[in-house]
């Protein structure tokens, strides 16, 4: 074998090895979390209240807080995000304005999440005087997920065949009737997939919530949007930061729960997409 051919084989092996090492590093780390946390994970842990003692501390306020945050954030980001996507995809007549919005969204998507936290702190907590409440946290997360929602919604709208729009318009529908009755229903699976992907990115967000002032010790379940709150990743951070090993098992168990939730949401997103794809073929 020539030297060049040998190098070629060697690089092939190297490429495989790099991929294998990266993925096995992830597996190794996950196995470690499992070893630390699996024994701690129980129904009582998920439905219990926080405590100064690691062995009796529970996750309920954090889980409830995360649920509130995600639902409120999605309820705010989804209509605005889809509306923006419709404007850009269906009405992009005003070229220069549309281009400006596009560049802006691409830039927003790359702004570090902690900066959104500072925006939330300055705008929602201070200027609008929402204080350190669920609604301020959810609004911050809504802004954070907006670029993702818009980008995925645009892809979903793009996938709707032009012929479907033309058929509706030819029968005398107005532009909005076409969009509302024909484009949106067809794009719905794609829109939902995008929403779920945006949500699963936001469930794990920690930094912006710390900046706007999520609490780390909340011994109650939030009773409304103006309640103080904690969230699952905040609780994990708080437990990791505590000295000693007692809370380490709690952090690991909470991580397992978080990763489990992410697995389920992403699974649903993939499922929705696949079903829609199969229906389109049939």
């Amino acid at each position: 074998m020539t030297r060049a051919a040998w190098m070629d084989r060697a690089f092939h092996a190297l490429g495989l090895a790099v991929l294998a090492v990266a993925l096995s590093a992830l597996m190794f780390l996950l196995a470690d979390v499992w070893r630390d946390g699996a024994s701690r994970l129980s129904w009582a842990f998920v439905t219990g209240y926080p405590s100064r003692q690691a062995s009796t501390a529970g996750l309920l306020p954090a889980v409830a807080g995360s649920l509130w945050l995600v639902v409120l954030a999605a309820a705010m980001a989804m209509p605005v995000g889809v509306g923006a996507a419709i404007a850009l995809e269906e009405y992009a007549g005003r070229r220069r304005w549309a281009r400006l919005v596009e560049i802006n969204i691409a830039n927003l998507a790359a702004v570090p999440s902690i900066i959104y936290g500072l925006l939330g702190l300055g705008l929602f907590v201070q200027a609008l005087q929402l204080e350190r409440t669920l609604i301020a946290g959810a609004a911050t997360l809504a802004l954070l997920m907006l670029p993702v929602v818009i980008l995925t919604a645009r892809e979903a709208l793009k996938a709707v065949p032009l012929a479907q729009r033309e058929a509706a318009l030819a029968l005398g529908s107005t532009k909005w009737q076409t969009i509302w009755h024909h484009v949106l229903p067809t794009a719905m699976p794609g829109l939902l997939t995008g929403l779920i992907l945006a949500v699963s990115r936001v469930i794990g967000e920690t930094a912006p919530l710390i900046v706007i002032g999520a609490l780390t010790y909340v011994p109650f379940v939030p009773d409304g949007p103006s309640s103080p709150f904690t969230a699952l990743p905040i609780q994990i951070f708080a437990w990791i930061s505590r000295p000693g090993t007692a809370f380490r098992a709690n952090a690991a168990a909470a991580i397992l729960l978080l990763l489990g939730v992410l697995l389920v949401t992403n699974g649903i997103a993939i499922g929705v997409r696949d079903r829609a794809a199969r229906r389109r073929v049939a």
């Binding site: 404007a87 927003l108 702004v111 300055g122 802004l143």
Partner: protein, 296 residues
Amino acid sequence: MTARTRQLAERMIEHALWACAGLSILVTIGIVGVLAWETAAFLAEVSPLAFLTGRTWTPLFYNQSFGVLPIVAGTVLVATIAMLVAVPAGLTSALYLSEYASPQVRRVAKPALELLAGVPTVVYGYFALLVVTPWLRTWIPGLAGFNALAPGLVMGLMILPLVASLSDDACTAVPRSLREGAFALGATRLQAARGVVLPAAMSGISAAVVLAISRAIGETMIVAIAAGQQPRLTANPLVPIETMTTYIVQVSRGDVPTGTLEYRTIFAVGMLLFVGTFTLNVGSDWLRRRMPGGRR
């Protein structure tokens, strides 16, 4: 509905939709506005020169000093370590995926890599502090419990998929005929990759790397958990340091009263962070647009 009211409704809906799109611009204005407002108040009390060139960062001490360089250095140190992992590994994976891997391998490997990017950063922080640091300490006895090395390595692992996936896109966009020309001259896949694909994809790959640097600089939780809270001007990866993002988290967790100078420091640091990442993002976008077959 008469034709007239329907027309009116159509117009109003269109305006409402454009208002949704315009909101995204308001977000940008909001970010810049909030940061600029508080930063201006901060710079009214601390001279910009002292802020940008000072070598001591002790805003929370009795003896206050506002030289931002130590936490900038901490950020750059961790980001450098992350890039030393993510760029070679990401580029190798990208070349493997675009030049060597069969379609079946690609179909499995690409989503598997995406898994790495989907893990929340707080979880990576746990890995860095409680798994990687103890493991590294068996090899490097001098390693402190908080250090730049472990979070840097873990961050590299987290950013790898970004570099790999964008570089792979850049390589795949190189026309097939260029490779075939090289193969016809007797090149191996590696020779074609190095001599033809890499140069042709270079602007796309540079865009990926620049975007990855921006991500590394803005990354918060890994360093907040595992790198420590000791601002110091050092290139030593074995000792505790503090990054800009960690500082913002540190102040946010404490009970610094709003409206004070200490409170305003996080916005000044945030402004610096925003300007840095924004510049990198724009640079990355500029590079990507030079890519053959890329977006204009």
